[in-house]
């Protein structure tokens, strides 16, 4: 496979994953705004930070308003991480690596682009938001379904999956990083409605507010939530899950190509630490520091994969 193709696949799936995660963040933000009487426009600050675009937003808008924040996250093409930008970039990469994709995967991606471009052509009315968020989740879900159902399990598949998990781990870590103070034991006055709201917003932004209840018997507390998002191997957006998958995808490539790279060591080391550490240990080390380390390490892994497998852009 061309290094350019591997690069294109990796980024195609990073962008699609990001589009979906941004939609989730907006959804969680809207939900909080609906259910809290004292919700203010400034509360979008955290959402923009979680999306990693707070500074970009400041370049475009002088003041923080709910409508502007949503528009910026959804369809501002000057924001490289807006849903629209992500779908454009994802589809652009897909078009470039068209030959590596099954017809079904390509069509799902192309239709996602056609549909969302149409939906996002105008500034969204708040009444349209449920339909839009739903369309983003559904369209990206169709890509994933077509991909899983039709792709050969070869290096193409594995590079694509690696892109998905590196992006997802990054997104989950960012959500935690922005909200880490909510999970600090000192700040946690267990049972207060404010905390419950904040926690639920975190769980919603990773589509996990239901599954959390099942796993922890409805026991809402900071340490359980941190455990769920960082260490729980069954939770498909947790750091541990993402790394288990990334390690396995990288393992396939090592076996197939008969060579290992620095990326393999980095991924395995991180995965081992996620498996062996308890949440108490992490809280003691410092949640914020831990997540910061993780994000830096995750970026390094992305770079090592790119170097090891000779990624390049056309």
């Amino acid at each position: 496979m061309l290094g350019r193709t591997a690069n294109g696949l990796y980024w195609m799936f990073r962008y699609i994953e990001r589009a979906e995660n941004i939609a989730r963040l907006i959804d969680a933000g809207l939900r909080v705004a609906l259910t809290r009487t004292n919700f203010a426009d400034e509360d979008w600050d955290g959402v923009l930070q979680s999306a990693g675009v707070r500074l970009n937003y400041g370049d475009v808008h002088a003041t923080l308003t709910s409508a502007n924040a949503i528009d910026f996250l959804l369809r501002d093409t000057s924001n490289p991480s807006s849903v629209l930008s992500c779908i454009e970039s994802g589809r652009h990469n897909a078009r470039m690596v068209r030959t590596a994709l099954t017809r079904e995967t390509w069509e799902a991606t192309n239709e996602c682009w056609i549909d969302l471009k149409r939906l996002l052509v105008r500034k969204a009315h708040s009444a349209d938001m449920p339909e839009i968020i739903d369309a983003i989740k559904r369209r990206t879900g169709l890509i994933r379904g077509a991909f899983h159902g039709t792709m050969l399990r070869d290096d193409i598949y594995n590079f694509s999956r690696i892109g998905t998990f590196i992006e997802r781990a990054d997104n989950t870590a960012r959500i935690l990083d922005v909200k880490y103070y909510v999970l600090l034991p000192a700040a946690a006055q267990v049972g207060s409605s404010l905390d419950n709201m904040q926690w639920e917003s975190i769980l919603r932004s990773v589509s996990a507010h239901r599954s959390y209840g099942w796993v922890y018997d409805g026991e809402y507390n900071a340490s359980n939530i941190a455990d769920f998002l960082i260490l729980n191997g069954r939770m498909p957006r947790s750091l541990a899950y993402c790394y288990e998958k990334a390690v396995s995808n990288l393992g396939y490539l090592a076996q197939q190509y008969g060579e290992r790279h620095a990326a393999h060591d980095t991924a395995e080391r991180t995965h081992a630490s996620l498996r062996n550490r308890g949440i108490g240990d992490i809280m003691e080390y410092g949640l914020h520091e831990y997540i910061e380390d993780f994000i830096a390490q995750n970026n390094r892994l992305g770079q090592e994969i790119s170097d090891g497998y000779r990624f390049y852009q056309g």
């Binding site: 061309l2 290094g3 350019r4 470039m96 192309n110 239709e111």
Partner: protein
């Protein structure tokens, strides 16, 4: 579809009966359905010089063009004869130039031609094949009258539409494929791959590795390049993916460099090798011509094949066919005035309103004048261009092209069409039974190019 007297022509009989039973509103709705299918699969092309139109659809008409087995056999023989002559001509032009010595074609028309590549003189490509893929443009003017408009011996495009049109028709009207015996076209990608692999260079060790070279995602035909690579199961590469290593052309892969044996290039000669041709080209591979001449890669089509489909050379095709095959051409050439000749120029200027005038090196329907439909002013302006550079133009009579029915809002209406069958050349000549039918959608128009508002339709060759 119809013959004089109002009965359908024989190959259309079954279709005609089926059509009579359809609900017209349903058929019109199917047109929208077809468009959705094309959008979704991304069958688009780019029109140069249009803002914000980087991805357009070619209109698809859902009434098939139907050719009987008998008609097809006749056409196929004529095409085969012509393609054999083209390859023989190319071999001769780049070697002994017997046809010039015999006085059948003037020396200056070859040697002063930009499509003639001195780099190819004395070099014989693997298998002696110059033009591996040919798309012969044919028009019909009567029951048994076919003319060749162009030979397209460089990089004929449009084959993906032939395949997708068929695919779309089978999806929308499966019943038609039960009641008609239609010869298949869908094995084209496989035949192409085998045909190319069979012409691997002598330096190839092991199973030949084939790749398609595209100018990239912004090229008007990128969809087709990707489509073919996908269907053939070969790598789609750009110039920046390739470099010459140890005398072989290699691509940058996730495991390091891997050599390529056969390159189906969709990049023009000029851009193929910046060390040999245009130095500023970033679409090609520096040094690939040296690898080629050393016998370590096959390039399809060979560089320099443009000399065979040049519009000035076209007018000599009857002589060329006869010179190399020893027989009269089975397919007609459109009578052509070469404006470089004073008598012809005079005639053309006097009859400008009756003629079609084309640039010698032009393509895509750009820079041409269709006399009968042009305004007085357009004719006068074109006459000035002609006088300024006569050798840049040829002129042909407007043929009374056959029409086929298309779907319009009010039902069906006749429109002019041409036909481009695709031909693969290796140690044998294979002609795919079918091809791309291009249709001039504007009423009365004779220009079928997609860049000028043309559409396409599925083309059936019946088994009979």
């Amino acid at each position: 579809m119809m013959q004089t007297g109002g009965t359908p022509r024989l190959p259309y009989q079954t279709y005609h009966d089926w059509y009579a039973q359809q609900d017209p509103a349903c058929l019109i709705a199917k047109t929208t359905e077809a468009e959705t299918i094309f959008r979704k699969t991304g069958i688009t092309f780019a029109v140069y010089g249009h803002e914000d139109s980087s991805e357009k659809l070619i209109p698809f008409d859902l009434i098939p063009r139907i050719i009987s087995g008998r008609e097809w056999r006749r056409l196929a023989q004529g095409i085969e004869q012509r393609v054999i002559a083209l390859n023989a001509f190319l071999d001769d032009i780049y070697h002994r130039q017997e046809i010039i010595k015999a006085g059948r074609i003037p020396r200056e028309i070859i040697e002063n031609n930009v499509a003639f590549l001195p780099e190819m003189i004395g070099f014989r490509p693997p298998g002696g094949v110059y033009t591996h893929i040919v798309g012969t443009d044919i028009v019909r003017t009567g029951e048994d009258e076919f003319y060749v408009l162009e030979d397209n011996a460089r990089t004929p495009s449009g084959v993906s539409y032939m395949l997708e049109n068929r695919e779309t028709m089978m999806q929308m009207f499966p019943e038609l494929f039960h009641i008609n015996k239609i010869r298949p076209v869908e094995n084209y990608p496989n035949l192409l791959r085998k045909s190319l692999a069979s012409l691997a260079p002598k330096g190839c060790r092991g199973k030949p590795r084939v790749a398609i070279l595209t100018p990239g995602i912004y090229n008007s035909a990128f969809y087709e390049h990707a489509f073919l690579a996908d269907q053939m199961g070969v790598e789609l590469v750009e110039g920046s993916d390739l470099r010459v290593i140890d005398g072989r052309v290699a691509m940058r892969t996730t495991r390091g460099y891997q050599t390529i044996d056969v390159l189906y290039r969709r990049v023009d000669d000029d851009y193929l090798d910046p060390l040999t041709f245009k130095p500023e080209s970033t679409l090609g591979v520096p040094g690939i011509m040296d690898v080629y001449r050393a016998g370590n890669i096959t390039i399809a089509n060979a560089p320099g094949t443009g000399i065979a489909d040049d519009k000035a050379v076209y007018s000599y095709m009857p002589e060329i066919v006869e010179f190399y095959t020893g027989r009269k051409p089975l397919l007609e050439n459109v009578p052509t005035w070469r404006c470089s000749e004073a008598d012809s120029l005079k005639y053309v200027l006097e009859h400008i309103e009756e003629l079609v005038i084309k640039e010698v090196h032009g393509s895509g329907g750009y820079g041409m004048l269709v006399g009968p439909t042009a305004t007085k002013q357009e004719c006068a302006d074109f006459a000035d261009k002609l006088k300024a550079r006569p050798s840049n133009y040829i002129a042909q009579p407007t043929l009374s092209l056959s029409t086929v029915p298309i779907m319009v809002d009010k039902g069906i209406a006749p429109r002019h069409v041409d036909l481009r069958p695709y031909v693969l050349v290796s140690d044998k000549v294979q002609i795919i039974p079918g091809g791309l039918t291009r249709v001039a959608l504007k009423e009365g128009s004779l220009v079928v190019n997609s860049s000028q508002g043309g559409g396409t339709k599925d083309t059936w060759v019946l088994e009979d």
